[in-house]
Symmetry: C2
């Protein structure tokens, strides 16, 4: 299978650093040319599901402009210039919750939109989270920190209480990872 | 917790039906006004993980413009005007794979970007999938249909072989759902 080739790119809208829209001219493997493929550049972000040694999962109940009502959400944030995703995840966990974690597991680096880009999502699980400081978040939204049991977070996920795709993804990938480790430990 | 209010909206870029970018003036609960919040409108889409009665999971190996190399992917597609997400999912499964499924489970309706919108992702699990016709896909990308075992699809997910966020989400949410049903059956 051959990739599509980018023949040229033009900026159509520049709202840096939040959003840049480009128009690409693309050549398909069969020679067909698409002259106006829309391509979206938005900041890469992290989400991290942190769990304490007592198996409590750190989540926020919060509002977001794009979400109806309130939603549960794991810790998340945008990469700052030059920042490594793991650094961002550790910084955001500490800033937003006042917790630090002993063990960090990357659950994947994903393009958000397979057709149009829209940045990368770096998803983490953090284990052994401990409260070390007061939160120091600069987020504009109101948020309340919750410590959920495994049964509660899984029920909340199934009920649609994590209303944004990266948030639901983070919880689902993290719980599957923990289950897989439990199965290995049983063998 | 109070939601943010949209005071006004202006279209900044119109590449309908693929992408519309708006600029919103927003009022926060404390009265603070943000005059230039970027808002993105893209088509809603579905992804569906289909599994046969023999517990084989239908996936593609495919190329996508936004993805490096090839990726595994579940069935997916955009809603057509007036279409219900379940209709889209059933249509796309049949068109792309030639399979129909007996049982459809909605795994959630999610906003793709909690800050800027970017459409909704409707995620499904389809059980009892049976081959009834030849595929009739109109997609531009090359793709190869695979039938993966439960162990293989979970290992592929953990290895990062589903490279786009909605694809990894779909697999993770579907596997968690199946595990939860298995646990219930054991009780």
């Amino acid at each position: 299978m051959q990739p599509w080739k980018t023949l040229s790119r033009r900026t159509k809208l520049d709202h840096s650093p939040y959003l840049i829209v480009e128009e690409h001219t693309i050549e398909l493997p069969d020679g067909h040319v698409i002259p106006n493929w829309t391509w979206v550049i938005t900041p890469d972000y992290i989400n991290v599901l942190a769990v304490t040694e007592n198996q409590r999962f750190l989540c926020f109940r919060q509002t977001k402009y794009g979400v109806e009502g309130t939603s549960l959400a794991p810790v998340g944030g945008y990469l700052e210039p030059g920042e490594d995703p793991l650094e961002t995840a550790q910084r955001e966990l500490l800033e937003e919750t006042g917790y630090q974690a002993a063990e960090w597991i990357l659950l994947g680096d994903y393009v958000v939109d397979g057709n149009r880009g829209a940045g990368a999502a770096h998803i983490f699980l953090a284990r052994g989270a401990q409260h070390v400081a007061e939160p120091d978040a600069d987020d504009l939204e109101e948020q309340e920190l919750l410590l959920l049991s495994r049964a509660d977070i899984e029920a909340a996920l199934a009920a649609g209480a994590f209303k944004s795709l990266p948030w639901a993804s983070t919880v689902a990938l993290a719980l599957l990872h923990l289950d897989r480790e439990d199965r290995r430990a049983d063998e």
